[in-house]
């Protein structure tokens, strides 16, 4: 059993407040031969500088930056060590200090957290966070193998050489333990891929049916192709500031609270432990559940996500996430990992995760919609960029700029696509705060970020 020491449970406290003032990204594609990696990063970075109603010119903002946090998942994919140096030089930011961040699928979130730390500590008043991945230098099955080396090479990688096979056992276990039907799982894919139809940058948007999802090719039983995210080339950037700089740059800054959690790389190594409770949960409420399932987090839940939310909710003073959050962006690399997370972050109590979908709460105009961006299933998983891009999507929603970012013809043209005649706005009405989850491994690293309107 993992037992926490009292010191381990201290809630992080920024030394000064942290704000996000701008975001940018590229279109996301399976294959992006028109641009080199550094050119893709420049594209997202320039969008961040030029298209966020900032009060200083791009040059003045560039002259204000003091630090950069860069997220890249795998040197395997880039086939280039020290990409950070190439990108940093390409963005003209030498000799400012930068740090390269790698925490698997949570790399983008971890880069954001690193940027927050730079602002909160006073190292910087204005910090760039940028993430990227280009997964198109190898064919898909080689890419599957590369990603599977983010499982344990001695005990797991050879057992499948594809990440879906590490999530699929959890899906079967979850289905039996918490009564999750294949249809509910498929609805997550239908929902997120459907929302991606409104996103000009989306790699695999589509109006699918539950039947299509369940009839799509099997990857690792029970996970079908349409339940798995794609491999992507693209980048995303965010600009973080201290309070003074934030209001100098923007009339609509967003305050940021963020924390992370971790757990074993191998699911096998998870030992039973007590559940760390969220602010709205009561001691004893999971006694019955644990009697049946025998162990927590077992294969059903993620300690890393629970711990990240445990800390982040306390940092941000959130008591009841479902009531207080206006939207969330979750790490739907697989339908099942999306659903598992609902319990970890308190959108439902453990054991009732499927109800977040079935109740309608998770949908546009529901109580707390998730992945209106299209998520990883519909829009992108350029791994190092993902957690940065998710933050951008929540940020634009809070600024009431969904329609500009997703609806303006300029972005459809940039992506080389025709804006659909039935394009639908997914702008949440007057949102106050939102959350995003960035998630790695089979729950090895998870960040939980909360963005709150600050004007």
């Amino acid at each position: 059993m993992i037992k926490f020491g009292e010191g381990n449970l201290r809630v992080p406290q920024w030394s000064r407040r942290v704000f996000m003032v701008a975001g940018g990204c590229t279109p996301f594609r399976k294959y992006f031969p028109e641009y080199k990696l550094e050119e893709l990063v420049m594209m997202g970075y320039k969008m961040m500088l030029e298209d966020n109603d900032l009060k200083l010119s791009p040059k003045e903002i560039k002259d204000s930056i003091q630090y950069a946090a860069y997220g890249e998942f795998a040197d395997h994919f880039q086939d280039q060590l020290l990409c950070e140096a190439k990108i940093h030089d390409y963005l003209g930011l030498d000799p400012l200090w930068n740090t390269g961040i790698k925490t698997g699928g949570a790399t983008g979130g971890a880069a954001m957290l690193n940027g927050c730390m730079a602002i909160a500590s006073g190292y910087a008043d204005c910090a760039l966070v940028s993430g990227w991945e280009r997964m198109d230098e190898v064919d898909t099955r080689t890419g599957n193998f590369y990603i599977s080396t983010a499982a344990c090479k001695d005990f797991e990688t050879r057992m499948g050489r594809i990440y879906s096979s590490y999530y699929a056992p959890m899906a079967n276990r979850f289905a039996e333990a918490y009564n999750l039907s294949e249809v509910t799982r498929a609805k997550v894919a239908v929902k997120n891929r459907g929302y991606a139809m409104s996103n000009p940058n989306a790699q695999q948007p589509g109006h699918h049916t539950v039947e299509e999802v369940l009839e799509s090719r099997m990857s690792a039983y029970p996970l079908r192709f349409l339940e798995c995210c794609a491999m992507t080339a693209g980048s995303a950037s965010a600009l973080l500031c201290n309070e003074e700089m934030a209001y100098k740059l923007s009339d609509h800054p967003v305050e940021l609270f963020m924390a992370g959690g971790t757990h074993t790389l191998r699911v096998a190594d998870r030992r039973h432990m007590d559940i760390p409770l969220l602010p709205n949960e009561k001691p004893g409420m999971y006694d019955e559940l644990l009697k049946e399932s025998g162990r927590w987090p077992g294969f059903e839940s993620f300690l890393a996500a629970r711990f990240a939310a445990y800390l982040a909710y306390r940092m941000a003073g959130i008591h009841d996430p479902l009531e207080e959050l206006d939207l969330v962006e979750l790490h739907d690399a697989f339908t099942i990992s999306d659903i598992q997370t609902y319990g970890d972050i308190g959108l439902r109590p453990y054991g009732q995760e499927p109800d977040y979908i079935e109740s309608g709460d998770a949908y546009f105009e529901g109580k707390c919609p998730s992945n209106l961006s299209g998520g990883l299933l519909g829009t992108m998983h350029a791994v190092g960029a993902t957690g940065v891009w998710q933050a951008c999507e929540v940020f634009w929603q809070l600024q009431d700029r969904y329609d500009y970012i997703h609806g303006d013809k300029k972005w459809w043209d940039r992506a080389g696509k025709e804006k659909p005649a039935d394009w639908k706005s997914l702008q949440v009405k007057d949102p106050k705060q939102g959350l995003w989850i960035s998630h790695a491994g089979v729950g090895s690293h998870v960040t939980c970020g909360i963005l709150r309107k600050a004007w």
Partner: protein, 167 residues
Amino acid sequence: MSKAYEGSLTTKYIGTPSGLFDQSDDFWVINFPRSFTHQHTYGLLTPFFRGLTEGKLMATKCTNPECSENSTWLPPRADCPDCYARTEWVQVPSEGKIYAYTMLDYAGIGIEMETPYWQIDVQIEGVDTIFKGWLKQGKPVTGMPVKAEFRTEDPTYTILDICWVPK
């Protein structure tokens, strides 16, 4: 010192042009081939992999009387993460119950088994962790008893040297 340092050199390209993978008026995409082998040590876990080739399932256990957990680890680990003591090797039963499973249908490149096949996670009496493996025959159900088989002849020297069959 090579004679070459003493004079001028004429140098020849001796590589193999790998060619264009894709091209348009705006871009070229080149091939960038490579093939190599890593040499990877099992370090202090070598007894586990040697055990597989001898038909034994070896785990590690923390026996430090000061440790609050004294967990038994499979996959094994040489150092206890709870108290940092060196763990000890113990042979554990080569049988257990299926805790979770999946059928591998579409595998990544280099897969060493015929697909599709069942991957299973096995709960073993006295072991605190759950052990991933593959089912050689049969169809898994949660809770189903299984026993291990070992590839003692012509071993692969990898985790694939153990598999499971219905008990």
